[in-house]
């Protein structure tokens, strides 16, 4: 029915099945939208946030999806700036995931503020010394970059591509994509970093505070680094899920392994730096403010030292080592375990630096503050997941996201189609000519 919109040479599930999937995700999305509107109309009293938990699950989700979406800028950097050409086979998907993550992050921020109608004050009355201002500017600029990177993908839809102007625009955007990618990498470096700066500059919160290099706390650099390190894990993880659901291999193993290897080395270097940072913080920074390490991990029901171990060793050192080991990396099972641990690791890191920061008492006579989210918060946090699923479903169905899909999954043209497709064949040939030697991703 909608097969005319499919990318060239691929097979897609039936319309009914597609809509069934969409409506399941859509139902979850609607639940999220309900929570969202309750928060907008009735206010943030719909959440379980309080004056101790001004930052809660949303901000964690925000930081986590931005870290996970870091695969987009880092893969882009590798592909366009460092010229690692194999990555062209996964960059589209990385861009899509990045786009989903960042649009979700912006949406969450729009719900999270108490006065969404004047949230633009963050731009208009910007306080340049605030890490959050840096986040807001770089985040929205980088979202613009991601949109610019995603637009050509949309325009490559078989039907849209027939319009000459669109075709040319796609071509031209691909042509200077390196410039956009470089700008994106620059912006990403700063907003990932400034997100790390958000807790790092809180000198009133010894659990979060880190020493500074120039105006930036160590956590600034660690955040950028960790996003670059773990982001690709998430790209690979979602790729794996998409492959499982579609039942097809979509990216060649060498590409996956290459990205996994890069991610592994990034994780290892990151985790060494993180360990150094943690040791310095535990031995020097925190004690200078009167806190011993275990003060942060005792006398409460949730935050034991296990969380530090889980973040650094289990979900840091372990996946790092797996991914740098050629043998373990080559094994799909261990690779997958490492990728999942990596995704958990970076999410845990963001959790600790948002929620545990709020939980730890600072005044000696204050108490731990634990909190659990309300359903409205859970719904609005799940909303981006449903939205992401739907975005991937639609994009996968209609756009040439995976350049290697046709090659990896050759199909016998159906007899009914061959009759009508003579014209199309001509187009394909043209396309193939245009695509040749292009720096942009395209059907092989």
């Amino acid at each position: 029915m909608d097969s005319a919109l499919f990318p060239k040479g691929v097979q897609r599930c039936s319309m009914g099945k597609f809509f069934l999937g969409l409506s399941i995700a859509g139902a979850v999305l609607l639940w999220g939208v309900l929570g969202l509107f309750l928060c907008w109309i009735k206010g943030l009293n719909q959440t379980n946030m309080n004056d101790y938990y001004g930052f809660a699950i949303w901000i964690w989700a925000d930081l986590a999806v931005i870290a996970l979406g870091g695969g987009a800028f880092f893969t882009g950097l590798l592909r366009y700036i460092f010229g690692i050409d194999e990555l062209k086979n996964i960059i589209n998907f990385a861009v899509l995931i990045g786009f989903i993550c960042y649009s979700s992050a912006l949406l969450i921020l729009a719900i999270d503020v108490g006065q969404p109608l004047r949230s633009w004050f963050i731009f208009w009355h910007a306080n340049v010394h605030s890490m959050l201002t840096e986040v807001a500017f770089c985040l929205s600029c980088y979202f613009a970059v991601l949109t610019i990177e995603y637009i050509p993908l949309i325009l490559e839809n078989r039907q849209l591509d027939k319009v000459p102007f669109i075709h040319n625009l796609t071509h031209n955007m691909h042509h200077i994509m390196a410039v956009f990618a470089a700008t994106g990498a620059f912006l990403s470096f700063f907003h990932q970093g400034s997100l790390g700066g958000v807790p790092g500059v809180l000198f009133g919160r010894p659990f979060a505070f880190r020493e500074h290099i120039l105006v930036w706390p160590y956590s600034f650099f660690l955040f950028t680094w960790s996003a670059a390190a773990y982001g690709p894990c998430f790209t690979l993880f979602i790729t794996w899920i998409t492959e499982k659901i579609s039942g097809k291999q979509l990216v060649k193993d060498n590409v996956v392994q290459l990205l996994a290897k890069i991610s592994g080395w990034m994780i290892i270097t990151y985790i060494i730096a993180k360990i150094a940072d943690t040791v310095y913080w535990a031995m020097v920074t925190a004690p200078s403010k009167g806190f011993a390490l275990m003060d942060f991990y005792s006398n409460n029901a949730l935050y034991g030292i296990w969380i530090l171990f889980a973040e650094i060793v289990l979900c840091g050192v372990v996946p790092g080592l797996i991914l740098i080991s050629p043998k373990l990396r080559a094994n799909p099972t261990t690779r997958l375990i490492a990728i999942i641990l990596g995704v958990i690791g970076v999410s845990l890191n963001r959790w600790v630096l948002v929620l545990q920061v709020m939980a730890v008492p600072v005044m000696s006579f204050d108490t731990w503050a634990l909190y659990y989210p309300s359903w409205q918060e859970v719904a609005t946090t799940v909303l981006p997941v449903a939205y992401g699923v739907m975005m991937i479903m639609i994009s996968y169905r209609y756009l040439p996201i995976f350049p290697q899909e046709v090659e990896l999954n050759p199909i016998e043209p159906l007899p009914t189609e061959t009759v009508t497709e003579i014209e199309v064949d001509k187009e394909t040939a043209e396309e193939a000519m245009v695509s040749e030697g292009e720096p942009a991703p395209a059907q092989a």
């Binding site: 006065q115 109608l117 004047r118 633009w120």
Partner: protein, 741 residues
């Protein structure tokens, strides 16, 4: 023009782009910030000229001067009145929140007549004329039936022109049943009547004492005139005054005192006599006073020596014998020692002997009418109205004995015994009054054994409340004739609790009445007018203001200006001139005290096998006591270790908690012989093991949603214990048990 898909798309895209480039989105964005800054449901307070009005706070017996900041006609904040003799510009938490009473949702805005069943809260608004007619008609009928004593009246003070008008009304009507309050203040006055023969008020010279020994008095928890107490506390270092708090719980007062002596609850009087033992035994007492100006010392000495030996007192009170002797020495050797009594805020009178023991202790060291001592003040006499003519009905009615038995026979020193008043309903149906007027009192909340009070009220056929607020008792009324609040009316506020000089404060309206309310004084005069005859002839004033001016006479001008009248030249009479007992001396054992006062501590009700713990109510300054309840601002200050949602926390020692396997926050059922209540546990090292401390001032069922339904009224769990010597409610606690709920 043919509209195909392409041109439609182009039109859409072009339109969107055009709109985006137009000023419209910018304008909308800009507007959004303006809307979000002034939503119509966020009020913008009206500006105006700043002005100030002065008055006297009537929210507690403290009698502080207040300055009300106004914007045009609108009071916006209450502050302490600078230079006022009682509070010297200070103010307490309750007074500070006073405007919330004025404007709050619990106000009774117009006369109300009950339409549903009692306590159902169904009311019809009626006119003042109809309301007054109805009361007058009922009063007329009762009187015509020759049973004027069937009218009872209850107030929360017996001082000033309003109680005097009510009392006068009762007298000319023909009923002796004017029931005032019975608080620690009344207990002190009763003890002074018995021991010194002085009918007046009792002042405590806390500013000049150099050692204050407080027998469980919550000097910082609302006792006396609270602001004055706070100031005496905070200035004490400048005066090198020591304050010793004797308390079974680390109250705020105990925490801020120089020394806290923990004691078994209810045994404060015993400790006082234990101290007396040492002072007498070591001859540390003031011989000039004792030898020349006292009587009954020998029998007192004999009694103390026999029954209050250090070992025995140590055992009863739990205070080690060496501390008792050390304390006695410290008290006897201080220059200006002062012993203070009245547990907590002093809302309950306690046993007369406890108060007498403390007064005797003061007398032993000569701290009577001396600087830094206890002062026996004559009532500030200014109400000199001619005796009214009584018609035969009134004469006959007044011959009947009071329902509470106060003032006669064994209780000859007491004025009113509200607890007895309600208790005796059950014994004889003929004792139940037919009409009850309730002004400013809220017995259904403030008296012990609330259930019994409710049962008693249920029997009264017609209840009229004059409350400004929908309090617990007003909810049970058949008719409410709302009085102005203290901020809307004139009234004299004599004799601030514990003040050391003759003093009359004046409340003046700082704002016009906000609702359709009427001054109680005017209502009394109007009712008298309807009843005619000798009754109206007893009220020779057109209205209350005329009465007040007439009564205050030459003091009026000065009071309007300053807000108070104080006898600046007052000096306490010397020891030889002050005692008006039969002997003309200070009677250590009291005069005409029917039973032996020195019988020792009052036991808590209940048996210790069923109820192994002891429940002690505690007062705190952040929870208003008495007939009113906490305004919303004060509720905000109540700690989360006292109240969470609707659950009140009781304080127990961690040791007690271990014994009953309770933890911080555990929901529990607290049971006493009088009832049970759902509570939660708060562990505190500031409370003696074996005790359960529960805050007073919670568990309201009336007023508004900001107060009602939160916690338990401790008076539901504690029953009165009648003091044989005075008839006062001597209960200080009750036996109890705790079980996990």
């Amino acid at each position: 023009m043919k509209i195909d898909r392409r041109s439609f798309l182009a039109f859409g895209v072009g339109g969107a782009a055009g709109t985006a480039l137009s000023p419209l989105p910018w304008k909308l964005t800009d507007d959004s910030s303006i809307w979000s800054q002034r939503w119509p449901w966020v009020p913008i307070p009206v500006d105006g000229k700043i002005g100030y009005a002065q008055s006297t706070c009537m929210l507690c017996p403290g009698g502080c001067g207040i300055t009300v900041r106004k914007i045009d006609d609108r009071p916006v904040k209450i502050e302490g009145q600078e230079g006022h003799p009682v509070n010297q510009g200070g103010i307490c938490i309750l007074g500070m929140a006073g405007l919330q009473f004025l404007y709050g949702p619990s106000r009774v805005k117009t006369p109300l007549k009950r339409t549903g069943k009692r306590g159902q809260g169904q009311w019809a608004q009626i006119s003042w004329e109809a309301a007054l007619n109805e009361v007058a008609e009922k009063l007329g009928t009762l009187r015509a039936d020759g049973r004027p004593q069937g009218l009872a009246c209850m107030t929360d003070t017996e001082r000033g022109t309003i109680p005097a008008l009510l009392k006068r009304f009762m007298t000319v009507y023909g009923s002796p049943n004017f029931i005032g309050p019975a608080s620690a203040q009344d207990a002190q006055e009763t003890a002074v009547r018995a021991m010194a023969g002085v009918d007046g008020t009792v002042g405590f010279d806390v500013e000049k004492a150099d050692l204050i020994l407080s027998f469980g008095s919550g000097l910082l928890d609302g006792w006396g005139s609270p602001v004055r107490m706070f100031q005496a506390y905070s200035n004490r270092q400048d005066r090198k005054t020591q304050i010793v708090q004797i308390d079974s719980r680390l109250s705020n007062t105990a925490a801020k005192s120089d020394r806290w002596i923990s004691i078994n609850p209810g045994t404060e009087g015993t400790l006082a006599l234990g101290l007396a033992y040492h002072i007498i035994a070591k001859s540390f007492y003031n011989k000039v006073f004792v030898d020349n100006f006292s009587a009954g010392f020998d029998s007192f000495k004999q009694k103390v020596m026999a029954d209050f030996s250090p070992a025995k007192v140590a055992e009863i009170t739990g205070v080690p014998a060496d501390i008792i002797s050390e304390l006695a020495l410290q008290f006897a050797t201080a220059h200006r020692p002062l012993a203070i009594c009245g547990r907590g805020r002093g809302s309950a009178p306690g046993a007369l002997s406890d108060t007498m023991a403390v007064l005797a202790l003061n007398a032993l060291v000569g701290s009577i009418n001396s600087d830094g001592g206890v002062r026996f003040l004559p009532d500030p006499g200014y109400i000199f109205w001619p005796d009214p003519d009584l018609d035969p009905i009134a004469l006959k009615g007044n011959e009947q004995s009071r329902l509470d038995g106060a003032g006669t026979g064994q209780f000859s020193h007491t004025r009113s015994l509200p607890n007895r008043f309600f208790e005796q309903f059950g014994s004889d149906q003929r004792n139940v009054p037919e009409i009850m007027l309730i002004a400013d009192a809220n017995p259904l909340y403030t008296l012990r054994d609330t259930k019994a009070v409710q049962a008693a009220l249920d029997q009264i056929p017609f209840i009229v409340s004059f409350s400004s607020f929908m309090d617990e008792t007003a909810q049970q009324a058949d008719l409410i004739l709302p009085n102005h609040t203290f901020l809307e009316r004139y009234q004299d506020v004599p004799a601030p609790a514990g003040f050391t000089r003759p003093f009359i404060g004046l409340a003046r309206p700082v704002v016009a009445p906000q609702y359709n309310t009427r001054h109680l004084g005017d209502v009394i005069i109007a009712l008298a007018g309807q009843l005619k005859g000798t009754i109206i002839r007893a009220f020779g004033w057109d209205n209350y203001l005329a009465c007040l001016k007439d009564t205050l006479d030459e003091r009026w001008e000065g009071m309007i200006e300053k807000g108070f009248w104080m006898d600046d030249h007052f000096s306490s009479p010397s020891w030889d001139a002050m005692f008006t007992t039969g002997t003309g001396r200070f009677e250590f054992n009291g005069e005409k005290v029917a039973s032996d006062p020195w019988t020792g501590a009052v036991a808590a009700e209940g048996d210790s096998s069923t109820f192994p713990l002891i429940l002690v109510p505690y007062d705190s300054i952040r929870l208003a006591g008495g007939s009113i309840g906490n305004p919303p601002f004060m509720m905000k200050t109540v700690a989360a270790t006292v109240l969470v949602k609707a659950d009140v926390f009781v304080e127990i020692n961690p040791e007690t908690a271990r014994k009953y396997q309770l933890n911080e926050g555990t929901p529990a059922m607290l049971t006493t012989p009088k009832g049970e209540g759902k509570v939660r546990i708060h562990l505190s090292e500031g409370i003696m093991p074996g005790l359960v401390a529960m805050p007073t001032g919670l568990g309201h069922t009336a007023f508004d949603d900001f107060l009602a339904g939160k916690g338990v009224n401790v008076n539901e769990l504690v029953g009165p214990v009648e003091d044989a010597a005075s008839g006062f409610d001597a209960a200080w606690g009750i036996r109890a048990k705790l079980a996990k709920a």
